[in-house]
């Protein structure tokens, strides 16, 4: 390549890399003259709990309230008594206060308050002669039902395969669930609400349970064989496909002609259309129309919550759980969904970026110090790797793709590989030069001799990344990120850095200085 062409190409390359670095990592700022804010690609990341915080919510069984709520209610009723006019009004207020005081009791070892309503069968309260509660104990039935419900709910979150989540029992009889911030608030709320459902699975037509499930021995698993999440319209719409057993197919055959079409539902103007409804207790969670039933009596369901793949996956997990675990004689009420900042420090992400920035700067400077202008090629390779991986992490959003500390590790590992392979190539070129060859022959020979070594290294690295795809939760996400890092690093070492080196070397005036080579006879001349 001619010198002029090389210089032009070098300049263009530098400009392109500089612009892409700006897009990738330049800090946010308000665009002058507008109300809009510029955000770099690194700000688009979905972050794990350690780096981005998350959401949490409390599940309280019906009849169980936290101490703060009991305290507030009591304070309000006491205030009402104090401010009521003497006489009937005050008596009424006092009665309300007394009623409330006896409506809830605490048990040993818990700060929660439990309803003493016999219908809920949560506690057995011991009262004194005046009817005031002296002590209370949890009923064995409530204990068993709660423990079973906790197990089922925990399994649901495990099945959702979050890389980072937490389910804990609070004071023995409430649940607190944490999810990472990678979910947006709407999706997180949908998951938290869905997984709190504890009603029995049933199929109803016109508000009545179908005949096949009326028998007390009948089970929905007798009708449903298998479920899977599928997509259509190029992945834009997801649905749950249910395959029925022979008995289930017979059931569908018997009723499908009486069901309405989904188009009828849209035109119904509020009048009732006949559907086969999937119920969780008394709550309808999906409807089956005539056109949802396929020719082989499989059914495609679009759940009430949404047609996004995430929602449908959540729905599938809920359905599987309902079929496997059955009904729990307990209903959970959700507290408010709260967002929380990264634990340990609000600034953990900023500090991490600073540390990575310093590390990347070192990897830009050290090769130049060690390898001369060939080190400059390594610097371009480093920046190219940074740009490609950072943009891929920001804009590839298949499923849960959150950036975590594992992402930092695999990013650094790929970066180290890029620079070490460049160093390996440099050493090979130097060995060729020391054997007496010209610079051009040394470069050719060095690249030729290291080609298969570099290929071997990246084949092994790719094998690790692909093997990790069998991992679950965060390991699966880590595997996807590892594939991106390995493929990018391989491309850079095998092709991109060679091209940059070729361009720079063509433009270089002194090829010896380019590689920091000194030949013995040159030293003697001096």
């Amino acid at each position: 390549m001619g010198k002029k062409k090389s210089v032009v190409l070098m300049t263009l390359l530098t400009i392109v890399i500089a612009v892409l670095c700006f897009i990738t990592a330049f800090p946010s700022f308000v665009i002058p003259g507008t109300a809009k804010k510029w955000n770099p690609a690194v700000k688009q990341y979905d972050l794990s709990t350690d780096l981005g915080g998350g959401y949490y919510v409390y599940y309280y069984p019906e009849g169980v309230i936290p101490a703060s709520e009991h305290e507030s209610d009591l304070a309000a009723l006491t205030e009402a008594v104090a401010s009521a006019e003497a006489g009937e009004e005050q008596e009424e207020a006092q009665n309300e206060l007394d009623e409330y005081t006896n409506a809830y009791a605490q048990v040993a070892g818990s700060n929660l308050w439990f309803s003493t309503d016999d219908a809920l069968n949560i506690v057995v309260a011991e009262r004194d002669e005046e009817g005031n509660i002296v002590s209370a104990t949890i009923t064995p039935n409530f204990q068993t039902v709660f423990d079973n419900a906790v197990q089922a709910i925990t399994s649901r979150y495990q099945a959702k395969a979050y890389s980072d989540y937490r389910v804990a029992v609070v004071d023995g009889y409430a649940i607190r669930v944490e999810l990472p911030r990678s979910e947006n608030t709407e999706k997180a709320s949908a998951v938290l609400t869905s997984f709190a459902k504890t009603g029995a699975f049933s199929l109803q037509k016109n508000g009545e349970v179908i005949d096949e499930l009326k028998d007390s021995d009948a089970s929905a698993s007798d009708l449903i064989k298998k479920m899977s999440v599928k997509t259509m319209n190029m992945g834009r719409v997801a649905y749950l496909e249910i395959q029925f057993t022979k008995a289930g197919k017979e059931m569908l055959d018997g009723i499908k002609d009486s069901l309405a079409l989904s188009t009828d539902a849209q035109n119904s103007n509020g009048s009732t259309v006949v559907t086969l409804d999937i119920m969780n207790g008394e709550e309808k969670i999906a409807s089956i129309y005539k056109d949802n039933i396929m020719h082989n009596n499989t059914v495609r369901i679009l759940p009430v919550d949404g047609i996004n793949k995430d929602y449908v996956q959540t729905f599938e997990i809920l359905m599987e759980s309902m079929l496997a675990d059955g009904e729990f004689d307990i209903t959970f009420e959700l507290g408010a969904v709260r967002t929380f900042a990264p634990l340990y420090s609000e600034n953990v992400l900023t500090l991490l970026y600073i540390a990575l920035g310093v590390a990347i700067l070192a990897m830009l400077v050290l090769p130049i110090v060690k390898m001369g202008r060939f080190g400059g090629v390594s610097a371009y390779a480093t920046l190219s790797y940074l740009i490609v991986t950072a943009l891929c992490f920001a804009f590839i959003t298949g499923g849960v793709f959150e950036v975590s500390l594992g992402t930092v590790l695999i990013f650094l590992a790929g970066l180290a590989l890029v620079n070490v392979m460049q160093y390996h190539i440099y050493r090979a070129i130097k060995a060729e030069f020391n054997a007496g060859k010209t610079v051009e022959s040394s470069v050719k020979g060095g690249y030729k001799k290291t080609l298969w070594t570099v290929v071997d290294v990246y084949v092994l690295a790719a094998l690790v990344a692909f093997e990790l795809l069998i991992g679950a939760a965060g390991v699966y996400t880590f595997a996807l990120q590892a594939i991106i890092c390995v493929v990018t690093a391989a491309f850079i070492n095998l092709l991109w850095a060679r091209f940059i080196n070729f361009t720079y070397l063509s433009a270089s005036k002194n090829k010896y200085k380019y590689f920091r080579f000194v030949r013995e006879d040159d030293e003697d001349d001096e």
Binding site: Y165, R338, V358
Partner: protein
């Protein structure tokens, strides 16, 4: 200097194996006695939640005043971390997390008293905050799912097998054995050291356990390729010592190790454990490839050389070469 060290350690396979076995045994015993050390967030906890109105929480000055009261009340207790949480509604909360056995009742009552304090004119000091304080004990239901650990272990084993097959195809059986052995030794030693050092086990530990074998495989294959390309060495031992990818291995340790030390030094505790874990994995992979793999290669390549010599002695050169000789 490195070559001298490698020349010595190459002959010490038994000793190196003994060291590894001792470390693994110690780690097993420690884990059996003390259990696995899990991260604070994955342990049972005691919490104290201070709830206040959203308007109070979002005012920085007012919130800092509340946080100061809390810090004062908890000064004799060990606060692990704090959830600073908001909701789009009426109240926000600060949840202070302690060890499960922490006694927080005194601190809780002190907070209640402090937040109920009144001014001289009878108005509340924290008027408008509507602060409530409550404590709770949490029993965690989830740790890293066993399935995640099992699948990761299976992935590492599968990688070792595939690396063995690939290296066998590329560089022969003996090199494949040493590469696979290097990967296995790295994975086992990394896990053992993490358990021995009692690093809190979280999902991020799995990442370190996976990246370490990757580096072992990379350094090992660099060495194997050098070994195959070296035609000038006099003896098998010299060949093995010269082939070890010392500079590349040490350069990776320096570069990546430096980055991890920096990350651990600058960032917070959550990140420090992760950085330490990753550093252990990196150092183990380097040590295995620099010392254990060459020590394993020596007897294997000696055996290979003996087998080759016996074949040459018998005069059998293989059918293809025999036909060529006949043709000549």
């Amino acid at each position: 200097m490195m070559n001298k060290l490698l020349t010595k350690t190459t002959k010490k396979l038994t000793l190196l194996c003994l060291v590894m076995v001792v470390i693994v045994a110690l780690a097993t015993v420690f884990t059996a006695i003390f259990g696995v050390n899990t991260a604070t967030r994955m342990n049972d906890q005691t919490t104290v939640t201070v709830k206040m109105s959203a308007f109070y929480y979002r005012d920085e000055t007012k919130r800092e005043a509340v946080e100061k009261v809390c810090e004062n009340a908890f000064k004799d207790l060990d606060v692990k971390y704090v959830y600073e949480s908001q909701m789009s509604g009426d109240d926000c909360e600060l949840m202070y997390v302690f060890d499960k056995d922490a006694n927080v009742e005194t601190a809780k009552e002190a907070l209640k008293t402090a937040f109920a304090a009144k001014n001289q004119d009878g108005t509340l000091v924290y008027d408008g905050a509507f602060i409530t304080v409550e404590s709770a004990k949490e029993t965690v239901q989830t740790v890293i799912a066993p399935a995640t650990i099992v699948r990761t272990a299976v992935a590492v084993v599968a990688f070792a097998v595939l690396a063995f097959v690939y290296t066998w195809i590329r560089r022969g059986l003996w090199n494949a054995i040493t590469t696979a052995a290097g990967i296995a030794a790295t994975a086992i030693m990394t896990v053992a050291l993490i358990l021995l050092v009692r690093i809190p086990v979280t999902a991020t530990v799995l990442y370190a356990c996976v990246v370490a074998p990757l580096f072992a495989a990379v350094f090992a294959i660099l060495g194997v390729n050098n070994l195959v390309a070296d035609e000038s060495a006099d003896s098998v031992e010299e060949k093995i010592v010269n082939a070890v990818a010392v500079k590349e291995t040490l350069a990776t340790v320096a570069v990546l190790g430096g980055a991890l030390v920096l990350v651990g030094a600058i960032a917070t505790w959550a990140v420090r454990w992760f950085a330490l874990c990753s550093l252990i994995g990196l150092l183990v992979s380097a040590a295995v490839v620099l010392f254990v793999v060459p020590a394993l290669q020596l007897p294997l390549l000696d055996k290979q050389a003996k087998l080759a010599a016996e074949r040459n002695k018998s005069g059998y050169v293989g059918a293809k070469k025999a036909n060529e000789e006949i043709a000549d």
